[in-house]
Symmetry: C2
Subunit: 338 residues, 2 copies
């Protein structure tokens, strides 16, 4: 099927001079896709003028007069800016004009607008933020990464279903394994909520692995790691923090003196290959999962490459039929529970 992605061109730190070229790069790399560029049309047109004609032909512009600020309160964005590029992009998904949308704008506002406009899927209480992370052996999907501070056991079960269906749909895995993030592998560990969530997951018919610990995320022990948004957010940011620290250490050691600088020249191709391999840009694009529509959140600071990757993720998910899979699976679980 031909997929159309609505791109919020105004969100993020850079705006149209990064988002529009990224969208054009995406069109060039992928067939059977179109984009709707949402935002201030004059600014978008300036960028489009530089584009090759056959790519520009696969774009449409949807003017939106307002922009949500990166630090704007979600409620103000939701109530006060009905014509923001973010809101208009989500509306395009709601109206069926686009199959998915992408924004690098502020997460809280995007979540509030998406929930209000699209609503959640049947039997899903709250959407979760889901991202792909690199592991020693491949990749793993983790959710929630910050949308829900306190979660019930039922919500953690729903996250498990959503994550498993996403992996199944996008990665073509028959029965993706689901791990529940905890402080020990034993069943007796963890809070009451987590223990109850383990029971629900065990009875869900999903391929539930059981408890996993923090280091299992990057070991790739399971295809999906489920946790509440507080734990997920802190864990993800701490991981980014230590990766950055180790990068700093490595740079400092190679810059220590003439000899180490000479060694760094010899090692440069290896170090670059190493850097590429866990380059966070390759993992850009977190899904707001559980909505009646595909909404992908890009890092605010995304450059042209990483914003293009986030658009690609939105297109892949739109094509995958993940939302129907979630709905079907939740129905089975509800029926079994009844």
């Amino acid at each position: 099927m031909d997929v159309t992605v609505a791109v919020d061109c105004m969100g993020g730190d850079h705006g149209p001079h990064v988002t529009v070229p990224a969208a054009l790069d995406f069109l060039q790399r992928c067939e059977a896709v179109n984009v709707i560029l949402v935002g201030l049309q004059d600014e978008i047109k300036v960028e489009l003028r530089k584009a090759r004609r056959e790519l520009a032909a696969r774009t449409a512009i949807q003017h939106a007069s307002e922009t949500v600020g990166m630090d704007e309160a979600p409620a103000s964005a939701l109530r006060g800016k009905k014509d923001s590029s973010m809101r208009v992009a989500v509306n395009l998904v709601k109206d069926g004009a686009a199959h998915a949308c992408v924004s690098a704008g502020n997460t809280g506002a995007l979540m509030a607008i998406s929930r209000f406009v699209l609503k959640t899927l049947p039997d899903i209480e709250r959407p979760a933020i889901c991202s792909v992370l690199p592991t020693v052996s491949g990749r793993t999907y983790m959710l929630d990464l910050g949308a829900n501070v306190d979660c019930t056991a039922e919500q953690l079960l729903q996250f498990g279903v959503m994550g498993a269906m996403l992996v199944s749909a996008v990665e073509n895995k028959e029965r993706p394994s689901v791990g529940l993030l905890n402080i020990g592998e034993e069943e007796i560990k963890g809070s009451e909520v987590v223990k109850h969530a383990a029971e629900l997951l065990r009875a869900s018919g999903l391929n539930f692995y059981g408890n996993v610990e923090g280091d299992d995320i990057y070991k790739g022990t399971t295809d999906v790691v489920v946790c509440d948004g507080f734990v997920g957010n802190v864990t993800l940011k701490a991981s980014e923090g230590i990766a950055r620290m180790l990068g700093t250490y490595l740079r400092e050691e190679f810059n220590r003196n003439l000899l180490t600088r000479a060694a760094s020249l010899a090692a440069l191709p290896v170090l670059n290959a190493f850097k590429r391999r866990f380059d966070p840009r390759n993992y850009n694009g977190a899904t707001l999962l559980g909505l009646r529509g595909i909404v992908v959140k890009s890092h605010g600071s995304a450059d042209r490459t990483s914003f293009r990757i986030a658009i690609g993720r939105a297109a892949d998910e739109a094509r995958s039929g993940v939302l129907a899979k979630i709905t079907d699976r939740m129905l089975v679980i509800q029926e079994n529970a009844a």
Copy 2:
């Protein structure tokens, strides 16, 4: 003052042939310290026979007939093994024969025994596990790392006091800064418990920085990072996991072909310096903080070097007067609140 450390020689993956030489290394490096070696006396004596006489003279042996297994349930260790090396080592602290004790045995059992034997300090509801972590610019202390799954705001305040007094006592910092781990810096972020804890910390008279995020841990934004044990444990293990993954990536890239292997030879001194710098062995020794005595938990897999470092940590804390500092500060806080 002369400090005596009780060393549980049987705990951990290795036993006396690692713990005893580590204790002797510690004696060699530090003056005005003695150790009591606790465990099966025959096994300890075998190790001591290899020691230099002046070092052996600064040791005493305390026989203990039982050993707590690494996977043993805390309750079974507590109730069933009154003569375990772990229990006897903690008893030596209780009786005043030692100023501190160290064990590489199972964390749950050590915590249960320590709480039962030593009790908590006045106005401290529960002990927390506190560790030193490397940062870009130095080091930071984080607690709780897994002793308390669900925490009240009052307990988080107590952790803040305990962490700040530890840094103040051991690192000689006048007013160490305290950060509260959260999912955003804004005051409105986080769970109700965390928001309330922030209020208590703000009113505590501590040098409270406010909320910090996951990446602030390794940035070294504050001297102390406070969180509940679930978040702390998962965060720490995830950090270890990603560090290990990056190490694997780096090794794999340097082993890719003849050319990259040649580069690795050139870069070897730099890579070794890099490795030394964040070597987790240098940070071995987590404190069970909040007890009426100093108890340090070593990694179970600690080798001779890292177990020696954990013993050193116990001696430093015993000398620092941290427990009196915690008690005094809690008294001030209670009086101000009254």
